[in-house]
Symmetry: C2
Subunit: 355 residues, 2 copies
Amino acid sequence: MPNQKDCNKKMTISEFSRSIGLSAATISSVLNNQHKKRGIAPDTVERVKTQARKLGYRPNMAAKKLRTHSDKLCSFDIAIVTCIEVPIQFTLGLIHAVEKIASMEKYKNYEFSTQIVTYHANKMSEMTGMLDESRFNGAIMTNTMPQDDKYFMDNEISYPVVFLGRYLPKYNCVTVDVNMAGKMAADVLLVNCRCTNPVVLVPNMLTQATSGRLEGFQKECEWRNIECKIIEAKGFLEQDGYNAVMEYIAKGGKIDGLYSIFETLAVGAYHAIKQNGLIIPKDVAVIETGETSICQFMDPPMSSFGLSEVNMYEVAVELLFDQLLGSNERIVNRILPSIPVLRESTNRTGETLKK
Amino acid sequence: MPNQKDCNKKMTISEFSRSIGLSAATISSVLNNQHKKRGIAPDTVERVKTQARKLGYRPNMAAKKLRTHSDKLCSFDIAIVTCIEVPIQFTLGLIHAVEKIASMEKYKNYEFSTQIVTYHANKMSEMTGMLDESRFNGAIMTNTMPQDDKYFMDNEISYPVVFLGRYLPKYNCVTVDVNMAGKMAADVLLVNCRCTNPVVLVPNMLTQATSGRLEGFQKECEWRNIECKIIEAKGFLEQDGYNAVMEYIAKGGKIDGLYSIFETLAVGAYHAIKQNGLIIPKDVAVIETGETSICQFMDPPMSSFGLSEVNMYEVAVELLFDQLLGSNERIVNRILPSIPVLRESTNRTGETLKK
DNA sequence: TTGTACGCGTTATCAA
DNA sequence: TTGATAACGCGTACAA
């Protein structure tokens, strides 16, 4: 009898049963601590436990749940699907949101089990079981890349799904008005700060959200007849933002205003700007996308785009839950406003900003 | 026939079957896009789809997997268990680690499905199914609070589990040498920086890891006969760290060195220190626990404790996987060294630090 | 003290 | 074109 480690197929309780010469019922009761109630002989208990360890037997969860959860409350398996390459702050927000929404009164009779599913950028088509309802009952998709979006448009997901931060006409979406955000960022830099050499800092992979911001920013610059440079970082991390800006300045690139369309990049950019002896906001005004908790603790506090009082994650999760319960048939597209939160990094008038 | 929304019990395909007057097999094939292959009549297909939407029918994943995945490769359900109150950067590292370790050659015949399970601080005892192998085959426990640790010591988890960042004798653990970290932090502040008014900044809830650091720091201060003050923040967030330090200074508290045992708190503390006109490191030297990507981009770059080349998350995940496959019976306790990464925030000699 | 038989909800196969 | 039936792996009531 090979143990689990040497065997591709998952061992079942009946194989276990054969290997030890006891019935499956006996084994089951021992492994679930029911042996006292059932009155199993102490040395049988020991034999079973020892053999379980030796074989590396692990019960099949699907079978176990099927048998056990049947008459319990109604449960759903949901997934948070995210691309592994993007720093997954989003995922955190979603996990918290699931916890919070699930505890709402209206869902008290339901149980939600959350899976995390990761995939590689633009490789969604290589995943199996994403279109059919064969892995989970519902999902929130986030951080998808253009190829992935295309895959979902060319094909059809057959279960409730909410796309977060991107708009795909066929599906439920919760997005922010990214074009508007880009436009407003440009307005802040060009009008408020009177920048003449604005620069946009972007990651090397553009999602629908990030490219929308870039576009909004560029259009506004164009309209105002001001040239706008683009710096492409080699990834999504602080270090990538730092490297990109250092290189740009070293090459003599001009800059008196920076719009970072990804938060972590802005943190690195801040450092690069200061290291070049430039002062924020006097020499370079900075604004970025993604109002997270550290913005106001940067030095100087960094202007950003927030989401007012609405929590994007909670909106997405509640939408998914309602779709799961089957009330809404129609496709929902919620566009949340993107509100600029102006701080010192774009304050060139020297006025004290109200708290 | 009530739809899913009005019914506590989960609707099954046979109820669906009765409600529409078709066999379960027919319904199943339609909902799984097998109707072409099976030659189902077009209007039957339509009827089934319509009814499915009307009823809000969602298949039972456990049953589906049981039937479908049987002869596929061997799969395990694992969980990342984390307390909801703590900002879950740890969770992120774990998710990435699972992705990475699962793709290793030695696990190519296995499939891992990752669940996220959250619970409230010190309320582990109120969770169901955490001791028996009834929800997942294995788990990584992190961010547990003292009461939770006690619960796990008083009871027995019957499946493979790895505790991350805390030491519980009965179980596999991957920890860092927190006492040593606390001691070294004290050495940096007291010896290198010659601080005479060291302060420790702690969150309001102490885990085993955080209290170990505090203890190590305090002991070292005591041994050197220097008094050390403790500031307790009201939570784990930047804002909490900021508030706590502002309040301490406002009350006339002395401070010329700060050890923050939680990273986000340090970010807020930085801001508070600067806002009081104090200069880092000249007036206040700062060091913290948790080498994350933003440390080196703070102004000035912040000293911290890192984990050298070993990735704590990956160690934990690989340990769990190996236990799942049943090779190791013995309990493993891996203590990883905590390496100080000194940057400008503790550099009082004015020397240029090597990169 | 242990084994037998059944059913959980689904899908694949075969029969009609 | 559709329905009946068996089987997936497990837990439990009941029989032995």
